[in-house]
Symmetry: C2
Subunit: 203 residues, 2 copies
């Protein structure tokens, strides 16, 4: 049996998508949740100085989106043909892009720039992206792609709590199709059971 060990901080952030997919696959994975005080020592041992990394039968791989795609293929959530896989990859990259923009706000240390960044993100970028996501999901039978569950749906729901904690915006509020999608994903038995048992974390 293949062994999976996930190394990250005690955060959802960039690892929760991987945990959602491993859970969806009913894989009993090992987790190492490193403390921030351990990070400087561990950083230099990581392939590109970053976490999360997933160890698959002892082979360590980085890049969370690539890891998710690999797991999504195993789960049958990565598309039935090349065109569907393209639409799925686009959906994920669109979600990833706005997540990255929101994280710029989180990492900004200059209070003046941070405050301006928040205004732009909350008033412009979030409506721009999430209104489009709402439209896409409404036109695709309640999912991101082709009226059926695929990994962008899991990816999307996995970041909602994290983004709420970072910038205090509920991304599905006032968007009924995204709200329905959120509940559909959270009602998947393996996801429900993962969320019930996962360690508590601030972000």
């Amino acid at each position: 049996m293949t062994s999976y060990k996930l190394t990250y901080f005690n955060l959802t952030a960039r690892a929760e998508q991987i945990r959602f997919l491993l859970s969806y696959l009913n894989i009993d994975f090992e987790e190492v949740r490193i403390g921030f005080e351990q990070w400087p020592t561990i950083k230099s041992t990581m392939p590109f100085g970053q976490v999360p990394v997933l160890e698959i039968d002892g082979k360590v791989v980085n890049q969370s989106v690539a890891i998710c795609r690999y797991l999504a293929k195993k789960a049958g959530l990565a598309g039935g043909d090349d065109w569907e896989s393209l639409l799925i990859d686009i959906a994920v990259d669109n979600i990833y892009e706005i997540r990255q923009e929101i994280m710029k706000y989180y990492h900004e240390r200059n209070e003046e720039i941070k405050s301006k960044l928040r205004d732009t993100i909350v008033n412009d970028s979030i409506p721009f992206y999430f209104d489009r996501f709402e439209k896409i999901v409404s036109e695709n039978g309640g999912y991101f792609v082709n009226g059926k569950l695929s990994w962008p749906d899991l990816y999307f729901v996995s970041i909602l709590d994290h983004i709420k904690a970072v910038i205090n915006v509920d991304l599905v509020d006032g968007r009924p199709h995204l709200t329905a999608l959120k509940h559909k994903v959270l009602d998947i038995p393996q996801i429900k059971s993962w969320i019930a048992k996962r360690p508590k974390s601030l972000l």
Copy 2:
């Protein structure tokens, strides 16, 4: 026959990877190179307000990396099994990540922040990433993954001139395996012929 129309600025930047792959596939694609003065009008007609977009038989898709993966599959450059595809996706995302960091410098308008950013990128980030790329290519028979050509190799070479123009660093200088890879890719007949005929651009 499938028709392909690529819309972008008269820049290499985020579209040259797509042009490399279309050329590699011997696809006779149409190009629309929009002027910066046209951009405000065109922006609102784009799926997520961005270019490049590729129109495939009239269907418009965004997200350059997703588009490249789709084309790479057609070209047989996206991996022979799920594990190889994972290694390929990781390589691309690692390259994309440092490219994004360099582009932060390009987009920064505050001269003081810009200058500090340049120091960090040139002295820390570029050596960090590109020394690792050099090691990966040296350990993988002269390519990014498994000793044979795959789309990270094309992706990598497609950004070199652009990065040179942006931050004035030759990313393969002093890195013999990356230099050899650059020449191997530029010697592919379809790439060589594309570069000979492509429109001149500053970046």
